[in-house]
Symmetry: C2
Subunit: 328 residues, 2 copies
């Protein structure tokens, strides 16, 4: 009885508004259509006895990373990491002063890097992402991500994750979903911090993947990163990565570019209920605004297909109260 | 008070023996050294405050499949599946009556198949494991595994799993472990039934993997299995598969052959506590007895290294009360 009185007193102290805010799993989302669509879908598939009920093991949600969970302008953050690595490794490579794409990078000439084309990018990745053990690479990423700052915002890159998406990840997991990253970015670049930042463990991070080789060094086993590509986890590669790593079809998929289109198509074509969402970068003041013409995160075919198929499109400007985690 | 009396009455009805059996998570294991070693390790790494404590997300346990979780004699069960597929598909391939390795298979001449070597095996796998969509292949596996019987025991293959290992999987999961299969067998052959039989979901099944291709067929996305190999998940390939799919080092590893040695070495070389175990096939009466000279599941270097490093070796004859699930 005493406890009941206490509960009633506590309840009377909370205004209806406070109660609502407390129960709102997505407080950084405005009360616009996307939020309502997400909540309606989750309630539908988690309601026991509903014809749309989905058993817990099949509640698979996949998220693109660059532009969907964190920013990707002016270039993918992994590209900035690679450039910083070239600068750090340059003293051991005097030949880089004259050889492209390294000479351009060391002069700060990103147009020269771009001009080096796919061959130049492959050389850059081979020089910065291969030839070391997986443990050495993980340490390099951890050191960089803990200190490097974004050139425009001055924030740590891990503080440029989207607060509304962090809330969405938590909300889905609280409803029995297993959340996966499915990114064109490098798997070994994301795994070191994805668990701490997104709550997504390494075994649920899928990304572009290089060859690996097991070796004994001084009687101790190591795994060495090779300069070969075994999965280009972009466009048609995303459903392939999903099949290879997860082995069943997601029921929710979240992306922001044409590179995510096949992942959303694959998700939407499942036999049961499905939910596809595009994050549309519409907020030049708080983040960036870009879509059909962008050199990074181009969203063109995807916007058309979302409209045609009734997928949810989030306007960052209109649908998100905050973009980045506050106070960081 | 009433409840307390009831509890005492209940307790008095249970003999000490019954209480022990009820609390024993590994009832099909004899009370010999391997069981004690497993329980001691699990208690050590799950005890809060202990110097050997391992946080839940890092409790990764990896299991070979063939010969570790289910039988593998007289040949890998997936090989028997492939042979049955050749017979089923033969009417559509009149050329198989004369072309090897198919002609030998159709005549029941397994020595002829073996004589066709790696090229023949590759042709067999390409004909039976590629060229169809992932969904079509899953259906084929499900149909076969539900009905095909083992030539010696007459059991369904999924009834030739090891009861003590099923108990071990359950025991580890109850202690916060995530259990993975890491098998030289085909990933797409195991996933359709691993969740039902082992409680291991498809995203925790790692195996030898073929190329995959995303395509649109009549406006519907499909994933097609290609006759290429992207992961040979055996020997040195096992730590590679672990790194690619899990992205962190296991703390427990279970195998039965030299093909598992590198997986056990990789596990044992972790910075924290680790546990490695070999299942030794010593029971010719209840299962099969084989090791250093076997053409399947050869265990030679592994036995020596287990002895040298103090890994646990289970003698199926001496350490397991039962082999297969009773009543099946």
């Amino acid at each position: 009885m005493k406890n009941k009185i206490k509960s009633l007193v506590m309840l009377s102290l909370l205004s209806p508004f406070a109660v609502m805010a407390q129960n709102d799993p997505l407080p950084s989302w405005n009360d616009t259509a996307p939020k309502a669509a997400i909540v309606a879908f989750v309630e539908k598939v988690t309601k026991a006895g509903s014809s749309d009920f989905v058993p817990v093991p099949e509640r698979i949600a996949v998220f693109d990373n660059d532009g969907t969970l964190w920013s990707e302008q002016p270039v993918y953050f992994q590209g900035l990491f690679a450039i910083d690595r070239v600068k750090a490794l340059a003293p051991q490579h005097p030949e880089w002063q004259t050889n492209e794409p390294f000479a351009s990078i060391l002069k700060g000439d990103l147009k020269g890097l771009a001009a080096s084309g796919e061959k130049g990018i492959a050389q850059l990745l081979a020089a910065t992402h291969a030839g070391m053990t997986t443990e050495e690479f993980t340490k390099t990423v951890n050191d960089w991500i803990a200190t490097a700052k974004h050139p425009k915002t001055g924030k740590l890159y891990t503080d440029m994750v989207y607060q509304p998406m962090l809330e969405l990840l938590t909300y889905l997991r609280a409803n029995g979903f297993k959340t996966f990253i499915v990114s064109g970015g490098g798997i070994d670049f994301m795994r070191p911090w994805a668990e701490r930042v997104y709550g997504i463990p390494p075994e649920q991070v899928i990304g572009s993947s290089g060859g690996l080789q097991f070796e004994m060094r001084d009687g101790k086993p190591v795994i060495v990163k090779l300069p070969t590509l075994v999965l280009n986890d972009d466009k048609e590669g995303k459903p392939v990565g999903i099949q290879r790593h997860i082995g069943r079809r997601p029921i929710m998929a979240f992306g922001n570019s044409d590179g995510d289109l096949q992942m959303l198509q694959w998700t939407a074509a499942g036999a049961g209920p499905s939910f596809c969402l595009y994050v549309h970068h519409t907020d030049a003041a708080r983040e960036w605004a870009y879509d059909r013409q962008s050199h990074i995160g181009k969203l063109d075919k995807g916007l058309d297909e979302a409209a045609a198929k009734g997928w949810t499109v989030v306007s960052m400007k209109d649908d998100w109260k905050t973009i980045f985690p506050p106070g960081k």
